[in-house]
């Protein structure tokens, strides 16, 4: 398959996804003495177009490498970034591709991509338990890192009332750092 330039990749996304495409940008940085380019791509898509976007990445690269899903609590919505890398195997040719999707807190659902990339299972399980994002169709929905005795409905990466603050043990004589429910 022919390798596209970063800008051409962004154009191909906007063409493929139509209304589902939000923005795309290229980050470039010169490094060390020879000033070679360090490049990464950031693409944001709508929740509804997410599945098509991942399929499109699988079209760009036969086996795209999914490093991790990172998630941030932005208040009213949760931002997920799927960190892909494509075009690996050659000196200086690899591109990082951050696929960003924002989910409103009243609809925290994202389809699974384990059928396209089987190795996505761990990070999907982690996102589910840590952020409370429901992964639709996940083949193995058990907890990954959190122990079984942690109550349901507590999500350690959240910054709202579902965060882990109420589970913190506060040393005698210290003020609790997070919000603690009275009573």
């Amino acid at each position: 398959m022919e390798k596209l330039t970063p800008q051409a990749i962004i154009d191909s996304f906007s063409q493929k996804l139509g209304d589902g495409f939000v923005t795309g940008s290229v980050y470039e940085r010169e490094i060390a003495v020879k000033k070679n380019k360090f490049r990464s791509l950031w693409i944001e898509v709508k929740q509804s177009a997410f599945r098509d976007a991942v399929e499109h990445i699988c079209h760009l690269q036969k086996y795209p490498h999914l490093a991790i899903i990172s998630s941030s609590d932005l208040g009213a919505e949760i931002e997920l970034i799927y960190h892909f890398t494509i075009y690996y195997g050659q000196h200086l040719e690899e591109l990082s591709l951050g696929l960003r999707v924002k989910l409103p807190k009243n609809n925290l659902k994202i389809p699974t991509i384990t059928d396209l990339i089987p190795g996505a299972i761990f990070t999907e399980r982690e996102t589910q338990e840590m952020m409370g994002v429901e992964v639709i169709g996940i083949p193995d929905g058990r907890r990954l890192f959190i122990a079984e005795d942690v109550p349901a409905g507590v999500y350690p990466w959240r910054k709202d009332e579902t965060g882990p603050e109420k589970l913190l043990r506060v040393l005698p004589g210290r003020e609790p750092k997070g919000k603690i429910e009275k009573g």
Partner: protein, 414 residues
């Protein structure tokens, strides 16, 4: 099929959470039929320390840097390296060129010690303890060098946002060259032991195979992926820091043997050649290292102020000894902690390959096969053996499992 849901009288052997062959508190539920492993379930999260939460809620970025250094004892350069690169991208800090080279030298010294440590552990797992003693003796040289250059045997504490904390002076170079020459002189000896010895070959050839396709699908990284023929190495693909000036090539086992099998033996080849490659990289770095400052902002209050005011996001990717390590950082203006910090260590993805590489193996092969992906480290001696047919449970010591492995080695030596 989930573990334990079978009609046949199979056994389920939980290995771990704490076990020397695992080197990290993790539990493997092995479903076995006779001597063969049919299915494996990997249960992680036995020591989740909420490090990311601390970085997002308690610490300022500089404190987090020291915490990142303690994510892993062996990879104590890779994690801070990832973090500084992600933060420098987010806060738009430029790093002096000389600092980039010192960072790479620190990272490569770490790779040498990590791979040699692994080689010793692998030899121990198959009951070849003389080689274990020899390799760990050889490893002492690099530990002494790390102590000499960075002031500490293990945690180097050399990285800082915007540069490095210690310079490498001209007086230090002869001592560094002496150690590098030592490794060059001993390489042939190590190669003969690990690649030509009959016992090592018999215990590792065609054991724990991961095919190229499975490696790609299960996202295997580092030596685990490269031994399966995936030429993926961050230092080559998307070079960061001073690697961008060097021409690092991903090492796959076909360089030596002409074919890719993807077994434990291939993983030994990759790691062994990477030690040699690391020595060459350090030599090249020393030769090319430019003069100049090593920090872009040496005043700590000013650095903290800059990081508090900055807003943005960044990704740091580093080729750790075990594979690609990645940190994602988001900074918010006015917030003294990191707004988001996501760490992914290489073992995280390599663990997904474990059920595949253990499938069809004998119990006596489990220690070496599991150790071959080089998961990170911790130790005590217990295995719980459950007989599902009778509900009988018995606790077997690590010595028992290790004895099985040693017996297998002796048996095939006959």
């Amino acid at each position: 099929m989930a573990v334990g849901e079978t009609e046949k009288a199979t056994y389920t052997i939980p290995i771990g959470p704490i076990h020397p062959a695992l080197k990290e508190p993790i539990q493997l539920m092995l479903e076995i039929e006779g001597e063969k492993v049919v299915n494996t379930d990997v249960l992680v999260g036995q020591v989740h320390r909420s490090i990311e939460w601390l970085g997002m809620n308690r610490n300022n970025p500089v404190q987090t840097l020291y915490l990142a250094e303690r994510i892993c004892g062996i990879c104590n350069t890779c994690h801070p390296f990832c973090l500084v690169m992600a933060v420098e991208q987010a806060a738009n800090i430029t790093v002096p060129d000389r600092a980039e080279y010192i960072r790479v030298i620190a990272a490569e010294m770490e790779r040498i010690h990590s791979h040699i440590l692994w080689a010793g552990v692998a030899a121990h797992e198959i009951g070849f303890d003389t080689v274990f003693y020899l390799t760990w003796r050889v490893r002492e040289e690099i530990m002494d060098l790390i102590e000499y250059v960075f002031g500490n045997r293990v945690t180097k504490a050399v990285l800082q946002f915007g540069g490095v904390r210690r310079d490498i002076t001209a007086e230090q170079l002869p001592r560094i060259r002496k150690s590098l020459d030592y490794y060059k002189s001993i390489f042939e000896h190590l190669r003969r032991i690990f690649l030509e010895d009959k016992t090592v070959r018999m215990r590792t050839r065609n054991v724990g195979i991961l095919s190229t396709e499975d490696a790609l699908k299960l996202l295997a990284v580092g030596p685990t992926g490269r031994a399966s023929g995936v030429p993926k190495d961050v230092r080559q693909d998307q070079p960061y820091s001073a690697y961008a000036d060097l021409n690092v090539k991903a090492i796959t086992p076909d360089i030596v043997t002409g074919t890719v099998v993807g077994d434990v033996y291939d993983r030994i080849i990759v790691r062994l050649l990477e030690v040699k490659q690391s020595v060459e990289i350090i030599e090249e770095c020393i030769a090319r290292m430019p003069e100049g400052p090593i920090m872009s902002e040496s005043k700590m209050p000013r650095l903290l102020r800059l990081l508090t005011d900055a807003a943005g996001e960044g990704v740091g990717r580093v080729e750790a000894p075990r594979g690609e390590d990645i940190h994602y950082v988001r900074l918010e203006a006015g917030q003294s902690t990191l707004a988001t910090w996501k760490v992914r260590a290489p073992t995280y993805v390599n663990l997904m390959a474990v059920p595949t590489i253990l499938k069809g193996m004998q119990i006596a092969d489990v220690p070496i096969v599991f150790a071959s992906i080089d998961p990170c480290q911790s130790c005590t001696n217990r295995i719980l053996v459950t007989d599902r047919a009778t509900g009988r449970e018995s606790v077997v010591g690590y010595e028992e499992l290790h004895r099985l492995s040693v017996e297998k080695t002796k048996e095939i030596q006959r």
